[in-house]
Symmetry: C2
Subunit: 387 residues, 2 copies
Amino acid sequence: MDFIDLQINGFWLFLYLSQVKTPIPVQAESPKGKSECYGVFCLTYDLKAEEETKSWKKLINIAVSGAAGMISNHLLFKLASGEVFGPDQPIALKLLGSERSIQALEGVAMELEDSLFPLLREVSIGIDPYEVFQDAEWALLIGAKPRGPGMERADLLDINGQIFAEQGKALNASASRNVKVMVVGNPCNTNALICMKNAPNIPAKNFHALTRLDENRAKCQLALKAGVFYDQVSNMTIWGNHSTTQVPDFLNARINGLPVKEVIKDHNWLEEEFTEKVQKRGGVLIQKWGRSSAASTAVSIVDAIKSLITPTPEGDWFSSGGDGDYELVKEVIFDDYLLSRIRKTEAELLAEKRCVAHLTGDVSVRKTKSGIAFCDLPEDTMLPGEM
Amino acid sequence: MDFIDLQINGFWLFLYLSQVKTPIPVQAESPKGKSECYGVFCLTYDLKAEEETKSWKKLINIAVSGAAGMISNHLLFKLASGEVFGPDQPIALKLLGSERSIQALEGVAMELEDSLFPLLREVSIGIDPYEVFQDAEWALLIGAKPRGPGMERADLLDINGQIFAEQGKALNASASRNVKVMVVGNPCNTNALICMKNAPNIPAKNFHALTRLDENRAKCQLALKAGVFYDQVSNMTIWGNHSTTQVPDFLNARINGLPVKEVIKDHNWLEEEFTEKVQKRGGVLIQKWGRSSAASTAVSIVDAIKSLITPTPEGDWFSSGGDGDYELVKEVIFDDYLLSRIRKTEAELLAEKRCVAHLTGDVSVRKTKSGIAFCDLPEDTMLPGEM
């Protein structure tokens, strides 16, 4: 009963959960390298001893992968400034890089030192996820391999899938039992599934795939078309895969509290142009700006985290790829147009799931001779700007 | 009486003010291009009509030059998020680019759209400072030409000086009468002087050169040496030029409220290594991270603005290149070491001032045949990482 599932969840990845039965046993692996504190962040301190800090909350550990990349270069400074978790929440940043990026990661740690953020009390860097994820209460998984020239989406699913399988195992072994995981690295939905299936001891509801940038872009495009400021658009949902089959839902969205279709009378634009405008945004930005949209992606990660830790404004909602706890929206509506598009992105997610069955422990799927799952993706649905 | 001036000002550029007599007449120039609103920011809105926004302050206009560059890419999102001016201060961003960067500037405006910042109500972009600076209440002048291969510091002073002379004239003609100007583009002290001398109708005390990144870096290095967290270091001053002659003042700085020299007994380290550590930071960061330190520079601009608009914590102070209004620090102390180093950076600033006399209207300085001031800078004092 797919649509019932959809309706009571409001989140997409749930379909996976009801179908994959075989959890993967957790393997103990030998650590490949220590996670080490950096510079001034190696100093000990006592928050309770200082007048300004003794009313602060208990320190939380936030792990970030791809920490030397451009998205992180925006996000880390937002986390450290208190913009995300608030002015009385001290934080420790645990930065995961690679052998190739470890020097750059030191540079990031130096810039964090030089920023003198009072709330930022610890920074450690490392290349072994088992070390870096130790006691993490949040894991923001941003790092992923970009698609190289001539690489098929199936190859990309496999390469990144292996990264997220390993990180899932590491989270399962090292992180807090209630760690919240936000997967940003693409293909984020399937990466989130792989990560979750490899971390059976962490509640499935804690895994999220970032759809918030699409949600924000969709709100902006509706505002532009309606001629209203963007803060008047609410109840936006992104259904399905973060790919060209994704479904920005204008049926349920509202403008000034009214259904979008009552405000924007040009329904042809909604059905034929709106989704494309949202999806092409990343590609247009690369053309204009010469690089991908790191700043607004970081903002959307902040928005997504804030949505998970603060009450949603009365009457509004947000969407996130993942199983849902929180309060699931009941009043979502569907029409034939929306359902047909959701079916298409569902089919794609299920196909991607079959492609990564060797990484999720799903034994019911046909394998190739090399032991990799048989992968049958009919078309290239990578979003422009995310090659 | 240089040292009296220093002591009662706490700021360096004052020396300039007492010596340059000839204000430059403001020339009306024909605009080269319109400043235009961008996308969703072209929509009209009524803050007083909405429940959430009707208690907000009046919109302020913030102009930013070099708006398509990496420092701005961090700073603009901090301004828009409310981190700098507070959660009830709506803002308009007026972004100045160049013909070469105008496409990238559109990309920046698109990312600002997609970020849905409630406080960000207007964004306009343009390449004519007379248009972009219209009614600006803050002007954050970040854009500057980097030094090309084989270029002398004198050439750099002249090229950037011309940019800042034009921007000073544009501010004088278009901006709010009380616009606050923060010069970031290097050489920032002399650029600030040129800008100020070309804007005689704007109070001289409103011009600032950014020394805050050096101040922050100096605090961090003292903290590291003393083995305390960086929030325990206060009363840090950066005297003089933003160059290798700059003087991070450990005589007046305090750690846990005590003079640095009482806490750090290794006075040889303070005199021989500390300053170099602060100055080499930018160069080390470029080596590690592969690009210059945009994120921490943006943080330091935020810190500098906040210091100007909020009361300084009791007993602490901050420094800024520029004439001082605010409350000038009286209790600064000097010793022979500090005075000799301040004299050296003073001499450099005065030499730089002579080099740009053709841009500031100083008629008492010897000119070359081409009408450019005779420039005699004895050595290369560019800070590492700022070539």
